[in-house]
Symmetry: C2
Subunit: 163 residues, 2 copies
DNA sequence: CAATATTGCTCAGTATACTGACTATCAGTA
DNA sequence: TACTGATAGTCAGTATACTGAGCAATATTG
């Protein structure tokens, strides 16, 4: 099918399916739904955002909130609530940093470690399901293109990735 | 770099960059930021979601909320607020349907039409910017793969696309 | 070392998204 | 026609995201 601006009806808007922004929203919507379904079926109550935060805290013990936000590209005002909920679920601990009294150090708890371990199969299953329409090669290509587009646009959002 | 499960450190989680769900979130985040920046610079205050709704209402005069939601894959509980805001901005009108007293008919106003026309360059510019890291061919391929993955996962979210 | 700038975090407000429940209405059928 | 089920829309509650503002503490600099 021809999909160029010239081919569109006069006065008409580009079809949603030609808008990368719309496709991004739609794919993300499905990705979240699949994640929640798989994780929920496995008996856990954790969102994709909470999972990424938890996994990153485990991999970087004692990191502060801003660093965590940078590692997963969350806004610093968003991370506050995410951490609140992880603390409330007993999966992490938040305590004042001894070196910088502005900062809070984050640490995973044993319960958090246990949850992370048991939840992993469901998370991996979810990643497979959200790509189920694609061949393995296509899935890899999709991820490659997303990574490339994201790298080029990193600084355009308020919450860029910081290594 | 080798990116297989077997190659990961024991006990470690997959890298975020290997998670299609994470990449989806990140790309969408950038897409929204770029859209708001371009549209804002052009002097308009419209979100991606509001834009898609407005464009779809224009293309389908008199449609009801559920049909609109289906055409752009929004949840029916989300569309209520989106429409509220479009009405409040004077871009659309919502009135009771004469045929079905449960339903509301949606119609674009002249102001909405004018806005849509003037905003289009900014919207198209935004779509280009969010793909600026990719060649034209890669951009097309990314959209193709997203469309394919979305088609296969359409029924997995609460708000599937309905033609 | 005092003034200034920057940083870490939080908060209030707004806008998607979704869950689950509810009302009003409509459609199909016994 | 009375009953049943489905549908259109809304609402309350929760969880991302972001804007913009603000406080406290640290870093920088004249």
């Amino acid at each position: 099918m021809i999909r160029t601006v010239a081919a569109l009806k006069e006065n008409s808007v580009k079809d949603n399916n030609d808008m990368p922004g719309h496709l991004a929203r739609r794919f993300q919507q499905i990705a979240v739904a699949v994640f929640l379904a798989e994780v929920g079926d496995a008996g856990f109550d954790l969102t994709p955002v909470q999972y990424a935060a938890l996994a990153t805290i485990k991999a970087n013990p004692g990191l502060d909130q801003v660093t965590l936000a940078g590692l997963i590209a969350y806004d610093r005002t968003t991370i506050t609530g995410v951490i609140d909920r992880l603390v409330q679920k007993g999966l992490i601990e938040r305590r004042a940093s001894p070196r910088d009294r502005r900062a809070r150090e984050l640490e995973i708890t044993d319960e958090g470690r246990r949850t992370l371990r048991k939840i992993t199969p469901a998370v991996e299953s979810a990643q497979r399901i959200m790509l189920r329409g694609l061949s393995a090669k296509e899935g890899e290509e999709l991820m490659r293109l997303l990574r490339k587009a994201i790298a080029a646009g990193n600084e355009l959002s308020r919450a860029p990735l910081r290594e």
